[in-house]
Amino acid sequence: MNDHLILRVVGKFLIPYVMLFGLYVQFHGDFGPGGGFQAGAIFACGFVIHTLLFGSRSTEQIVSIGFLRVISALGVLVYAGVGVASLLLGGEFLNYNVLAADPITGQHIGIIVVEFGVGLTVASTITLLLMIFAERGLPS
């Protein structure tokens, strides 16, 4: 018996669009509800569906746990890096005004990069959490 056929077809169809939706939320956080956290969670949902449909081992072929840990650390570093950059450019920590000649452009750059860092960390950590939990439950 070919299990979960319907589920598989629908799930496979949805995964890319869920991820695209996540990216949309990431980049439109400035204009409407949304931002790095929500985007990260939604983007991670793409991997969640994949894990649920094909198992965590198979998801690990796509993004390994080690890779996810690197990304999750990278997100923190990106965020803090913006702060360090503004320190080095002579402002206070996380003062985006100094990132560009014009304060408003600086704020824009700062906010977009920072949100991107948030998104990286949240998406990777949530995927990581799910994969660790799911793997722990596998019959050995």
Binding site: P33, G35, Q38, R57, R69, Q107, I132, F133, E135
Partner: protein
């Protein structure tokens, strides 16, 4: 605006009923599922209170992720709460009653609900509403406060998530990767 009140009342009653139900349910899977309703309802309530960003987060992060993690945990720990002969526990009840009474005392002097001249609405927040367009030029005030004015909080928040990742990986992360040859070849 009466409509908002109507929805508000309904949602609050839902929440109250659900929370009582959660207390009484023995089957853990049911409890988790009912908790899912609780989360989704609370997100609707946030919507009614005009907090779209919060509703978004509660739906995506709060409801979605917590529920899936809880299900994953239940898959390992089993779903039945053991039925023990419930000894009546007095102490928790006393603690909870005292806390509740204190809170009830505390809300006596709260400023009226939803009035624009409340202290919370006139002191710090107006600057965000009036100046953020000039200072950051970002239409979503929540984003500009989150990422710029209180950007340091958000950095802390990212670190919280990172810490959770580290913590879970330390606690239940796999020690060594053991991929059998079959599985490795499977993805070819």
């Amino acid at each position: 605006m009466m409509l908002a009140h109507l929805i508000d009342i309904f949602l609050l009653v839902f929440l109250a009923v659900i929370s009582v139900a959660l207390l009484r349910i023995k089957d853990l899977l049911t409890a988790v599922m009912i908790f899912g309703i609780y989360s989704l309802t609370s997100a609707s309530l946030f919507m009614v209170l005009a907090a779209a960003d919060v509703a978004f987060t509660e739906a995506a992060v709060g409801a979605g992720i917590s529920i899936i993690l809880m299900l994953a945990t239940l898959a390992i720990t089993g779903r039945e709460e053991k039925i023990v002969e419930r000894k009546f526990k007095l102490l928790p009840l006393i603690i909870v009653s005292i806390t509740g009474a204190t809170l009830l005392y505390g809300i006596r002097d709260l400023p009226p609900f939803g009035v624009a001249s409340n202290p919370a609405q006139v002191h710090v927040a107006p600057r965000y509403i009036e100046q953020s367009a000039v200072e950051t030029d970002i239409p979503n005030i929540v984003t500009s406060v989150l990422a710029s004015y209180r950007g340091f909080d958000t950095l802390g928040e990212v670190v919280v998530i990172f810490t959770a990742g580290i913590g879970v990986a330390l606690l239940i992360g796999r020690r060594r990767r053991l991929l059998t040859a079959k599985e490795a070849s499977r993805h070819e």
